[in-house]
């Protein structure tokens, strides 16, 4: 990781955050700005192209990825509030453009991509002050964040800084929630079984909030919680951290 605080960063919101969990993006931006970092938000941004990539539609993925990279030309870090989207850009963009004229650009771009939590902890070394009341939460690790971006200690390190927050671990924290993009609609029975196990696990912790650093998982888990009439609610880690620590 780079040493020292950059003057400015790009923020890539991701399509799921943009359309369904904008407060997560807002929270991320606020957390960065509070550290004195200027946040640039290119208006033309849309999607990291992971959905098309995972489904094997790589021509289409390249077209969209190309458009995204063109919006982030300066040598600034690109901060992304999603383990899977950051993983897509960091690990798959170079492969996606292998053998094309844009390969070098893709490699350079990938090297500047950071997942938000990792950026906050490893680059900015944020210190958080908890301004909220006592509460418990539980944490879902999100597969791509965990296994592609190595995102394990950073979210827990941030939560540990919140003195009034108790984290009750899930029994099967690292197990997939069953989303997997189109997997959830191609194999709905298996996907439903996986998310059912996940929300049962959430319920058994008794925590009113389940946190994740990946909004796609939250769509899945949250939708299942709501359908089941469960008490727990999903929230993105960035939104949670901002809400807990903002000055009232």
């Amino acid at each position: 990781m780079t040493a020292g605080k950059p003057e400015a960063v790009y923020f890539f919101g991701t399509c799921v955050v943009d359309l369904f969990f904008p407060e997560a993006g807002l929270g991320g931006i606020e957390l960065l700005q509070r550290e004195g970092v200027r946040v640039v938000f290119p208006r033309g941004q849309t999607c990291c192209a992971q959905p098309a990539f995972n489904c094997g539609y790589h021509e289409e993925a390249r077209a969209v990825a190309r458009a995204q990279m063109a919006l982030f030309p300066k040598p600034l870090p690109v901060v992304v509030p999603s383990g899977s989207c950051a993983g897509m850009m960091k690990h798959h963009y170079p492969d996606l453009f292998e053998g094309t004229p844009e390969h070098a650009m893709a490699v350079a771009f990938a090297s500047r991509v950071h997942e938000l939590t990792q950026f906050l902890v490893d680059v900015l070394g944020v210190r958080l002050t908890d301004r909220g009341g006592k509460t418990t939460v539980t944490w879902h690790s999100s597969c791509h964040g965990l296994r592609e971006m190595g995102l394990e200690t950073e979210p827990k390190a941030l939560l540990a800084q919140l003195s009034n927050v108790t984290v009750v671990p899930l029994e099967r924290e690292r197990e997939c929630c069953g989303f997997g993009g189109t997997f959830s609609v191609r194999y709905p029975d298996i996907s439903a079984a996986m998310v059912a196990d996940k929300i049962a696990d959430v319920a058994s912790t008794g925590a009113p909030t389940v946190l994740s650093a990946d909004a796609a998982c939250l769509l899945n888990i949250g939708g299942a919680l709501e359908k089941a009439g469960a008490a727990a609610r999903p929230m993105h880690l960035a939104e949670f951290l901002w809400q807990r620590t903002r000055e009232r």
Binding site: F11, C15, D18, L19, F20, F21, P22, E23, G25, L26, I29, R38, V39, V40, F41, P42, R43, G44, Q45, T46, C47, A49, P51, A52, C55, G56, Y57, H58, E60, A63, V64, A67, K74, C143, H144, L146, R147, E148, R174, E175, C176, G180, T182, F183, S184, V185, R186, Y187, P188, D189, I190, S191, A192, M194, V195, N220, G223, A224, E226, K227
Partner: protein
């Protein structure tokens, strides 16, 4: 899963072992034709007759030819996934040869007319009551008992007679060593040794990829194999076969044959995007950790090899036209990648197979590329592309989601599949783009 985790308590040791095991298997693939030739030369020098089979039909014919030459009609079998690929038992049955499975799990499912549901524990889907009933019905002289020791003793009694009487024995090969011409078999029960030492003829079956360069290479491979497969540091028996009964030896088969099978593996080998598929040592760790496999079981895959390895191997050997659904039966969670002791990039290969299934292109090398083409899906992604390349169209899409949202109930197709278990996602009243504009964030 817990047993395997207990076998690798030290992450640093696990990382180092994986790197070593992966390098050994990668080294094999970097020299494969030379190693196979060396293996053949050493085996032949030691009295093992080597045969080559391009297809499973060829392999079946070779086996039958050997049996006919000896007038053998009763054989015992140790566990061999290659023999499942060949559907060997059915073939032999059709040709008047009794082929009896001697591994307890395989024996159980053969008795019940089934196929294995897991590559290490083939009868894992059966309860002891089912097995008790099966033995009581199908084995002469066996009373109904659910006591595991009694059931095991019955199987021992029946199979002991069969080992004694068998005219030939068939086995797989866990690892073959090019340096010494040695065939290694890993087992816990002793049926492998029985099948390969007692009958006068032993036929070993292996895929072209199951070779390593040097004898010392087997040590790290065996360590990760047994720890990943059954959560034990070592298997009860490691059987090193170097040849038939030697001069002065009192036992051992008079003849040992090795059948080397291709069945599409050379095609996989030629495609560097997927060649790592051939590193597999058949440990079963991937399926033991797969959230899909552990919920649906092996038979759901309707393939010889289930789980993550099956999902990448089967479409490649059988072709994407008939098997394009398998690579999609995954949420790409990477749990398999995390535990694979030889670092096969399974999820990466799954995506490659999805890519080559969706359309045919001259540079696509997987068998049956384009076999999963779906015009409707092509259209959907073409539309997705338009909506995400153009910021204006993206905004319009976002707006239409806002407007149509309340009307998007779980009617049909993907929406219905989604709403089986979840409520529909609701578009937020304002998007992050809206917030960014309101906050006056710089654009560039």
């Amino acid at each position: 899963m817990a047993k395997r985790a207990a076998q690798f308590p030290d992450p640093a040791e696990w990382d180092a072992l994986r790197a070593l095991a992966a390098s050994i298997r990668a080294r094999t693939l970097s020299k494969l034709p030379a190693l196979l030739e060396a293996l053949e030369a050493r085996c032949s020098a030691n009295g093992i007759r080597v045969h080559w089979a391009e297809t499973v039909d060829d392999a079946n014919q070779i086996v039958l030819g050997i049996l006919r030459a000896h007038g053998a009609t009763r054989l015992v079998k140790g566990k061999s996934m290659v023999s499942e690929e060949m559907h060997l038992n059915d073939f032999l049955e059709e040709n008047g040869v009794e082929s009896l499975e001697s591994d307890l799990g395989e024996y159980i499912i053969q008795l019940d007319g089934e196929t294995p549901s897991h590559i290490i524990m083939p009868a894992i889907h059966k309860s002891r009551q089912q097995i008790a009933r099966l033995f009581g019905e199908k084995i002469r002289g066996a009373e109904y008992t659910e006591d595991v020791d009694a059931l095991t003793a019955t199987a021992r009694r029946v199979l002991r007679r069969k080992f004694f009487e068998a005219e030939a024995g068939i086995s797989g090969v866990n690892i073959a060593v090019a340096e010494t011409g040695t065939l290694l078999l890993v087992e816990n029960e002793g049926n492998g040794r029985m099948s390969t030492h007692v009958p006068p003829v032993h036929i070993a079956l292996m895929g072209i990829e199951k070779v390593v360069e040097k004898l010392e290479d087997v040590a790290p491979i065996l360590t990760v194999l047994t720890r990943s497969a059954t959560g034990q540091p070592v298997s009860t028996y490691l059987n090193l076969i170097g040849g038939p009964r030697g001069p002065g030896e009192k036992d051992g088969p008079a003849e040992v044959h090795l059948v080397i099978l291709d069945n599409g593996r050379s095609r996989i080998f030629a495609d560097e995007e997927v060649a790592a598929t051939l590193r597999c040592i058949r440990c079963g760790a991937c399926m033991n950790h797969c959230p899909v496999y552990t919920r649906v079981g092996g038979h759901a895959y309707e393939a010889v090899y289930p789980g993550p390895i099956g999902s990448i191997l089967t479409p490649q050997t059988e072709g994407l036209a008939g098997r394009h659904d398998l690579p999609h039966a995954s949420s790409l969670c990477h749990a398999c990648v995390e535990v694979c002791p030889v670092k096969i990039p399974i999820t990466q290969i799954l995506v490659t197979l999805r890519k080559e299934s969706a359309r045919a292109a001259p540079e696509f090398k997987v068998k049956g590329a384009g076999g999963g083409r779906d015009r409707l899906e092509d259209l959907a992604w073409a539309g997705w592309r338009m909506a995400h390349v153009s910021p204006l169209l993206y905004k319009a899409m976002g707006l239409s989601l806002r407007v149509l949202g309340p009307f998007l109930k779980g009617g049909a197709g993907p929406l219905r599949a989604w709403t089986q278990a979840r409520t529909m996602p609701r578009r937020a009243p304002r998007t992050l783009h809206d917030f960014a504009r309101e906050k006056g964030l710089p654009d560039a």
